[in-house]
Amino acid sequence: MSQSHVKANEKHPLFPIKNVIGFVLSLILTFVALGLGAAHILPFGPIMLIIMGLAVLQIAVQLFFFMHFMESDGPAYHVIGLTIGIINAVAVIGGTIWVMTFNSQVH
């Protein structure tokens, strides 16, 4: 517990500036995704790639601006936990799509 990053005496800002920045960023990301989707300026593949990229940025906004992701009492074990979760999620989704697409190509 030596590397405590959760000191109470750290000064709290008088205005929740971090939270407001996070909210504005999440709104911008949402409307950019909506605008791109509704505009039909790019083919399906590239546009979905961009929208998924924006969604990943949204995760980062939630984690770092709202969820106090860098806070931990001692070693940051929760980062390891979440990383394993994300690896499994990517493996399940990527693996499923890969296997099922392969199936349709064979038929």
Binding site: A38, F66, G81, T96
Partner: protein, 211 residues
């Protein structure tokens, strides 16, 4: 003997006031870590539902497709409600750390109300689909859609009940280490549901709009 010494040491650090309130009791950091691990497993649950949806998205059996069904205003309102509630939930933790009980309760209530608004819009969306003949039994696409989006909606509904019960405890016992940990953890849950919704917005609704 060594073990009980260790325990005594942990208990004496129960009110280590140099730490943030939610980390002061010895079980606070353990509960928070445990909850992060729960979120990792819940992520895998949603990954399975997303994988299923992506594979059978186009299997509509002559019924309505995602493009026919989804309307931009409806799911945009739902997205904005949930994004805003995630923001107000983070303000609740901010006010808790400033020891402002009234504002903490106020932001939690706003968060709950936005959550209820979200669930309300989602229910009316589902009712409309079913009225148009797009039921869960109609096609593989609709089964996957209602399962994925419905599981998220059930999570949000549970989160609303959970948050109301925590508001009651804050009203009763004020801002102290146990309540601080509970508010922090319900906040994590709420932000996680916003992350899942962002993916439903992108993978389910935006795919329908773009295709």
């Amino acid at each position: 003997m060594a073990l009980s010494n260790n325990e005594a040491k942990q208990r004496s650090s129960k009110h280590d006031t140099s730490r943030l309130l939610e980390y002061q009791r010895h079980d606070g950091p353990l509960n928070i870590l445990g909850f992060w691990i729960f979120l990792a497993t819940d992520l895998i649950l949603f990954a399975c539902l997303f994988a299923t949806y992506l594979v059978i998205r186009t299997h509509v059996d002559g019924g309505p497709t995602d493009k026919d069904l989804f309307e931009i205003p409806g799911f945009t309102i739902e997205t904005l409600l949930l994004l805003t509630s995630s923001f107000t939930g983070s303000l609740a933790v901010y006010e808790m750390r400033n020891f402002n009980k009234k504002r903490l309760i106020g932001w939690l209530i706003v968060t709950v109300l936005l959550g209820i608004g979200f669930v309300g819009f989602e229910i009316s969306e589902f009712v409309q689909y079913v009225g148009d003949g797009a039921t869960m039994q109609r096609s593989a696409f609709l089964s996957a859609f209602f399962t994925l989006v419905g599981t998220h909606g059930a999570h949000v509904s549970l989160g609303i009940i959970w948050m109301i019960s925590i508001i009651r405890q804050v009203v009763k016992f004020g801002i102290e280490p146990i309540n601080a940990r509970k508010v922090f953890i319900v906040g994590l849950y709420w932000h996680f549901l916003d992350i899942v919704w962002i993916f439903i917005f992108s993978v389910v609704y935006m795919t329908g709009v773009v295709s």
